[in-house]
Structure formats: C-alpha cells, structure tokens
C-alpha cells in the first residue's frame, strides 16, 4: 500500500520533510517505524525515543501497536503543546 506519512514539529525538522509517500507492507505502526528507521540515519534519529512521540492514523490519535489495515495517512509528532 501507499501511505501519506506526515511529520510535525521537531520530528519534521529531523526528517527534513513535512510529508512523503511511503510504499510499505507494514502491518502495524511499529512495523512502519522499523522500516523507516532502517532506511536512513535521519529516521533513526527522529524515531530514537518512541516515548517522546505520538502517532495518528487518518487523523485519529492511536498507539504504536495499532494496525495499518485500511490506513491512508499516518502522522508522527511530539506530545502536543496547545492552549
């Protein structure tokens, strides 16, 4: 499948792009993270500490063990700091 993968805040800065298309057969978010980590150093750095990251599938907050079945858009970002 082809996913739109989005990055925000310092995750975006570390990876260097705000979004990209990713061709993957990852079953879960965690599988996708592993694939990206293996690609290049900048991904390994951005995904170094998953406790400092949040993930959303199709604009809904979820967990790293969530299934990507049917997913179109996955976003990675640090904890939110609104308000």
């Amino acid at each position: 499948m082809t996913l739109d993968v989005l990055y925000f805040a310092w995750v975006r800065e570390r990876i260097g792009v705000p979004r990209e298309k990713v061709e993957t057969s990852a079953a879960t978010v965690m599988d996708l993270v592993e694939e990206l980590r293996a690609r290049e150093e900048r991904y390994a750095v951005a995904f170094g500490d998953l406790k400092a990251l949040r993930v959303a599938i199709d604009q809904e907050l979820t967990e790293f063990d969530a299934s990507l079945n049917g997913a179109r858009e996955v976003a990675f970002f640090p904890p939110m700091t609104g308000g």
Binding site: F8, A9, R12, A56, Q59, P78, P79
Partner: protein
C-alpha cells in the same frame, strides 16, 4: 458550537460579546484566554505555532462535543491561532455558556485540559538563545486524570 483555527488575530472582547449575546436562558458565561508570555529571565522574540490541518479541527470538535455531552451547556466556542505570534498576543480562547456557573466553569477547564495535550498544536519559541520546541508538561498530562 463554533471551532476556529486561524492564523489571524482575533478580537477577544468582540468574540466574548458575540458569544454572550442572545443567551437569555444561559445565566453563566466563562471564558479562558491564553496569552503569549514574555519572561524577564529569557525575553521571547516570537512564538510559532504549528498545527495539523484537518486533524486539529477534528480534535477540537471532539473535545467540545464531549464537553457538551458531559455538562448542560448552551454553547461552546474555541478559537486557536497558528503561525507567528509575539509576546502579549492572544493564542487562543474558549468560551462556555450554561444555565449554572459550575457547569460553565467545569466545561471550560475540561476544554482547556484536553486542548493542552490532545489537540495537535506545537509551540516553538524564539529567543536570543535560538529556537526551541516547547516541551509538554507532566502536569498537563496529569490534569486529564481528574475527568
């Protein structure tokens, strides 16, 4: 319910008046406004707020809908800015209208608690030391536990 995410400044007083007008069955209006702080020990040049177009609006609507399910509210307003802000600028406001003051207060606090750490906004501060992403606070995560 009105949810607005915008780069432009908003007029807090005008929004508050508009929100309060025409609610003759609502005795209590509570507003919260967040302002960019300028701290003497490390003067802030500017703040940039990043958001997630689409998800941010949906997350705010979900939080406001949950508040309306939980308290007896006449209306809810959320305005949140993104982009460039300066010290003294208003970042955001929420407003709640309810027949009774306890509902209006609790709902406004609930909105703020969830908006702080469940709505996709990220603040970056620019000072003489450079740019820094604002870290989330444990106390903001803890604040969710009371609801």
């Amino acid at each position: 319910m009105r949810i607005v995410v915008q780069a432009e400044p908003f007029d807090f007083g005008a929004e508050a008046n508009r929100f309060a007008a025409g609610h003759t069955d609502m005795g209590a209006i509570v507003t919260f406004t967040g302002i960019v702080r300028d701290l003497a020990q490390n003067p802030l040049d500017r703040m940039v707020i990043e958001y997630y177009p689409g998800m941010t609006e949906k997350a705010l609507e979900k939080i406001a809908t949950e508040a309306q399910e939980r308290w007896f509210l006449g209306d809810v307003l959320v305005i949140h800015r993104h982009g460039d802000l300066r010290p003294g600028d208003m970042i955001m406001m929420v407003a709640t209208a309810a027949p009774h003051r306890v509902d209006a207060f609790e709902a406004a606090e609930y909105l703020m608690d969830f908006l702080k750490s469940r709505a996709p906004f990220w603040k970056q501060e620019f000072t003489a030391d450079g740019a820094e992403w604002v870290a989330s606070k444990d106390e903001d995560e803890d604040a969710l536990k009371r609801w």
